[in-house]
């Protein structure tokens, strides 16, 4: 490090006045997003885990085919199995979503950001857009790769699904979209909780720990809550063969969308009000 003892300040009225507009804030957030190693690692993990589990499940299920009853074979949803890895990739997306905002609060970087861009909602919107687009691309690509890999295991048994079937295409894309929704819930929790560890823990609880436990809720109300609870609802869009008693694909998707967007809106409102 060299030390300048004389001060030369290029007092440049030499560049025109420029505001912190949304496209500029998006560019800035894009740079911030990709300049952290954690981003690359988390996206890589999301991809590898998604495809890895899909391969494992397809391999395991296809080799146990002869042990299945005819009834089991009839309801075998190879597409849904092919994208089952998304449930794990989703976890990485939720972590990344939480990190993108909570890490700024944890490090204090949010104050530097908000002095440069005082419009807080613009900052949050830019983060959501940058994360949402990247998460969607990575998750949907991972979902398609999972599908093609899994189908190589089913083809020899003449059970492979085809993307020309609308329900199959919707299921493969939908599986990727659930991962995006999980990520958005991570962003919402990061905005609400503002601590990385707290935000990640609650995202894991809401997406993975609590959903299976809601099955224990008694009565018709319990059932109504359970089928609509985050991933319980969201995962329906990845089904080609409908599971009785559960929501239909798009209904499930929109329930989960709402469950992610509402906390995000509350987070945005709080972000505007709270001291940074």
């Amino acid at each position: 490090m060299t030390t300048a003892t004389t001060v030369a300040t290029p007092r440049a009225a030499s560049f025109p006045a420029s505001g912190a507009t949304l496209p500029r804030v998006i560019r800035s957030e894009w740079t911030k997003f990709w300049s952290l190693r954690s981003t690359w690692w988390t996206l890589l993990i999301a991809f590898v885990v998604t495809v890895g589990f899909a391969t494992l499940i397809a391999w395991g299920a296809s080799s146990n085919l002869d042990k299945m009853s005819p009834q089991e074979k009839a309801t075998l949803d190879v597409t849904n199995l092919a994208t089952a890895g998304v449930a794990f990739g989703q976890l990485a997306m939720a972590v990344l979503g939480a990190l993108i905002i909570a890490s700024e609060y944890s490090t204090g970087g949010i104050r530097t950001t908000l002095v440069a861009v005082p419009n807080r909602l613009r900052v949050l919107l830019a983060k959501v857009l940058v994360f949402g687009v990247v998460a969607a691309v990575v998750a949907v690509v991972a979902s398609f790769v999972s599908f093609f890999v899994a189908m190589t295991f089913w083809s020899p048994h003449h059970l492979a699904a085809s993307l020309s079937t609308p329900a199959v295409l919707r299921s493969v894309i939908g599986a990727g979209l659930i991962a995006v929704l999980s990520g958005l819930l991570g962003v919402a929790l990061g905005t609400l909780i503002r601590h990385t560890a707290g935000a990640i823990t609650s995202a894991v609880a809401l997406l993975f720990v609590i959903p299976p436990l809601t099955g224990l809720l008694p009565g018709s109300w319990g059932k109504a809550i359970s089928i609509r609870f985050t991933t319980n609802a969201g995962q329906r869009i990845a089904e080609v063969i409908h599971t009785p008693g559960q929501l239909y694909p798009w209904a499930g998707f929109f329930w989960m969308l709402g469950e992610c967007v509402i906390p995000l809106l509350i987070g945005a409102w709080l972000m505007k009000r709270r001291d940074a």
Binding site: T3, T5, P10, G109, L114, V115, A116
Partner: protein, 307 residues
């Protein structure tokens, strides 16, 4: 120009900043002085729209900061040098800031050179010393070539060379007609840096005056006199209605002048070996002023220490 109008911030029962009003003018360095916990950082955060005032408002060139059009060209701020994500390189951090306000990309190299950080640009911030972080913070503040600069304790963690650099830097900025508002808890630092002082203690305004006036108003003069006839002079000073203090073989007299003490000695035909006025240092004046408003008093030190 920065204006605080009845700025107040309450955290629960604690009043961090209380009805603070002042104006920070362009063209000079204005020091914002107060003991730790006086509310300096809170005030700066309210000026920058980071904290919401409980009452009152802060305006920058007549507008609230949250509604300005080109934030980085209006204000450059260094609050806490560690307010950055340590996982990025210095260059990536500055690039993102430049992009957020649509500033020319060349500004990144310019401010890196200005702060002597060019060689550290490719390193991750988490490995930086506090001094380097301060320089990076100043570099970031200068990206927009702003009209107004707000620095919170900028010399923290800097070596003497760095402190001198900052001092010259702030003078140069003010000389260019910018508004420079800089906080410190050290009077000695402000004495050499600021032309105008805003002093607060426990969130309340204690003084808003030029540094020169502040020194004159607050440094009580002590007349110090050395004489071989100590007892006689003490008696003579008492007779004249003064309150002499015997200290280490010399006499200190408060609230008088060297002329008066000399006249008293002459009138009583007493020998004087030394006679001079001693001004208390600015640090003492500052401590005197803020004594009642220091949040945490240290217990009297029994072991001598520099602090």
């Amino acid at each position: 120009m920065i204006e605080a109008k009845g700025l107040t911030k309450r955290y629960g029962d604690k009043l961090a900043v209380s009805d603070l009003s002042f104006t920070v003018r362009p063209g000079i360095v204005t020091g914002f002085l107060g003991p730790n916990g006086a509310g300096k950082s809170t005030t700066m955060r309210m000026i920058l729209g980071l904290d919401r005032p409980t009452a009152g408002e802060a305006l920058i060139n007549g507008r609230r900061y949250s509604s300005v059009h080109a934030p980085m060209q209006l204000v450059g701020a260094l609050l806490d040098a560690k307010d950055v994500h340590g996982g990025r390189t210095a260059r990536a951090h500055l690039n993102a800031l430049v992009q957020s306000n649509g500033l020319p990309k060349r500004r990144v190299d310019e401010v890196l050179a200005m702060t002597g950080m060019t060689e550290a640009a490719g390193r991750r911030i988490k490995g930086f010393s506090l001094g380097m972080s301060q320089r990076l913070g100043i570099a970031a503040a200068m990206l927009g070539d702003p009209e107004i600069l707000i620095f919170d304790e900028p010399v923290n963690g800097l070596d003497p060379e760095g402190i001198l650099w900052i001092r010259n830097f702030m003078h140069a900025l003010a000389a260019e007609g910018r508004t420079v508002f800089v906080s410190s808890h050290l009077m000695s630092e402000m004495e050499n840096t600021a032309e105008h002082l805003i002093v607060i203690g426990l969130g309340k305004l204690l003084a808003d005056m030029s540094t020169k006036d502040f020194i004159e108003a607050n440094s009580a003069g002590v007349v110090r006199v050395r004489t071989p006839q100590v007892e006689e002079l003490v008696a003579a000073l008492r007779t004249a209605g003064l309150a002499p203090n015997l200290v280490d073989g010399h006499i200190d007299v408060l609230g008088t002048t060297t002329d008066a003490v000399g006249d008293i000695a002459a009138a009583n035909r007493l020998t004087v070996h030394e006679l001079y006025a001693q001004r208390s240092s600015l640090e003492e004046a500052f401590m005197e002023m803020t004594r009642d408003s220091v949040e945490y008093h240290a217990a009297d030190a029994t072991v001598g220490s520099a602090q």
